[in-house]
């Protein structure tokens, strides 16, 4: 009994370590091929368009509502003590959004939207022997499938985050004007007073890492898919779970180093 549970734990731990090892290995290969010979340029643009199309709606809704909720919550709380909270909202909303909320929420939403799509697509290719077919035609699947998705995610996550920063700030402004009788002059003045440009840049910088995580985890889970449609389902779920966890951990580490 005791031996069994040790065996169980041992298997789980080695399983985890092996998985981490393979993920790191794939990351290394993707990185190598990204800089080695930049081929598949057309494919990179295709993937960027796909990511943009797929995520514009969710990013719009996520960022707009986050900005609005943020303004509503902090505004109501501040009004309990001080009147005229509206004039502080610009700073609060934009700081919280650009430093933390927009990057991490976009990261998580995109892990669900894009990471899962990558895992499902490559996973289907793996179980239907399309990945094998690529190999027989002297085409490296990492180079052909993973690298374009990696580069596209690396570029698109920051782009979408900038968009989310802007939209969220406008959402906050909307609440400030309509719920708290603020003025747009006051909103942007406080934004100007509290926020520094490097807050924005550091927030955006974080999402480059999130993009890398989403693409590499999605590809890794895709390539390792076994066992037909059921396997594809499992890989898809696993890719979302793993990349979400990694994004949160990485977010903490980066935040600790950047500020």
């Amino acid at each position: 009994m005791i031996q069994n549970s040790f065996e169980y734990i041992g298997r789980k731990v080695t399983g985890f370590l092996f998985e981490a090892g393979r993920l790191t290995l794939l990351f290394g290969q993707v990185f190598y091929w990204t800089f080695k010979k930049p081929s598949e340029i057309k494919s990179v643009f295709e993937q960027m368009v796909i990511i943009g199309n797929k995520s514009l709606a969710v990013v719009t809704i996520t960022s707009l509502s986050t900005g609005m909720i943020l303004a509503l919550q902090t505004g109501t709380a501040i009004e309990r003590k001080i009147s005229g909270a509206a004039n502080m909202l610009g700073g609060i909303v934009s700081l919280a959004l650009t430093r933390e909320l927009a990057p991490v929420l976009i990261g998580l939403v995109m892990a669900g939207k894009i990471g899962s799509a990558i895992a499902a697509e490559i996973g289907t290719m793996a179980v239907t022997e399309q990945v094998d077919a690529l190999k027989t035609m002297a085409t490296n699947p990492v180079k052909y499938l993973a690298v374009p998705r990696f580069i596209a995610a690396l570029v698109m996550l920051p782009v979408l985050t900038i968009y989310a920063d802007l939209l969220g700030t406008l959402g906050g402004l909307f609440i400030s004007l309509n719920i708290f009788d603020g003025t747009s002059g006051g909103y942007f003045e406080s934004l100007n007073m509290y926020m520094r440009l490097d807050d924005v840049f550091k927030g955006i910088f974080k999402t480059v890492f999130f993009g890398a995580i989403i693409a590499v985890v999605g590809c890794h889970k895709g390539f390792e898919t076994e066992g037909g449609a059921e396997g594809v389902g499992k890989s898809t779920t696993a890719s979302v779970v793993i990349s979400s966890m990694l994004i949160l951990v990485t977010d903490y580490i980066l935040t600790a180093f950047l500020w």
């Binding site: 239907t128 094998d132 027989t136 002297a138 085409t139 490296n140």
Partner: protein, 249 residues
């Protein structure tokens, strides 16, 4: 020439190949027959390095393919064409892009030339006006033939066919059999054909090898195979339920 020497391979506790040896002579067609699930597809995948053996050697042009790194593998694979049992078409690409895949990537041919070649190869497998379709819009047999057109697109030296006529009607089967023979005659291809279709096996094979319980238990020319005294082979080629091969197990 491909030479398989004493190869073993297992998945989990299941031993698929157990000291299997087989020679594929240059410019000849070898047909591999055997029961469903006996490991024919696994054997083909070993020949092109998609699977690695647990032990033994797979020599392609006198070099062990199991020991090659990815760059060497890519080089040697440019001499191969492979038709997968499931066709394995890229479903995000059109038929024309599938068939022209290697041509676009590895030759300097102009798009118009590639288009012409793609049309030619498709005509060889009895298809026309399907260039712009996606694989999902094709029937099973059409997919198989597009897969074949893609495999022969670069006129490879070595062709591996995994059940080329399965799922085709009798007339189309015959067209494909003749194509295999013709490719071997005209382009001097070395071919390995896995099939359940005995008519096709007799027609295209210079040599027929029967795989059973992880080994090649018998090989010979079609006429030798037809006259064989081996009970196992006899049972298989006559397709009878009674004999040394048990239904279960």
């Amino acid at each position: 020439m491909i030479k398989i020497v004493n190869v073993s391979k297992h998945f989990g506790s299941h031993k698929v190949m157990n000291g299997l040896s087989l020679e594929i002579p240059d410019k000849k067609t070898v047909v591999i027959i055997g029961r469903s699930g006996c490991g024919k597809s696994v054997l083909l995948k070993h020949m092109i390095g998609l699977l690695k053996p647990d032990s033994g050697k797979i020599l392609v042009k006198d070099r062990d393919i199991a020991k090659m790194d990815t760059v060497e593998l890519d080089d040697i694979r440019k001499h191969f064409g492979m038709l997968f049992q499931s066709a394995a078409l890229f479903d995000s690409l059109t038929v024309a892009e599938n068939v022209g895949f290697a041509l676009t990537r590895f030759t300097r041919k102009r798009p118009s030339e590639i288009k012409k070649l793609v049309k030619e190869k498709l005509a060889l497998v009895g298809l026309e006006n399907v260039e712009d379709k996606k694989p999902a819009e094709l029937s099973g047999g059409m997919k198989k033939r597009v897969g074949l057109a893609r495999a022969i697109a670069m006129d490879p030296e070595i062709m591996l066919y995994d059940e080329p006529t399965t799922g085709l009607d009798p007339i189309m089967s015959d067209v494909i059999n003749e194509l295999i023979v013709e490719l071997q005659k005209k382009l001097k291809m070395t071919s390995v054909v896995v099939t359940h279709d005995m008519k096709s096996a007799y027609l295209v094979g210079d040599k027929i090898a029967m795989m059973y319980e992880g080994r090649i238990i018998h090989e010979g020319t079609p006429s030798e195979i037809k006259k064989t005294k081996d009970e196992t082979v006899k049972q298989f080629i006559n397709g009878s339920a009674k004999g040394p091969i048990q239904m279960l197990g």
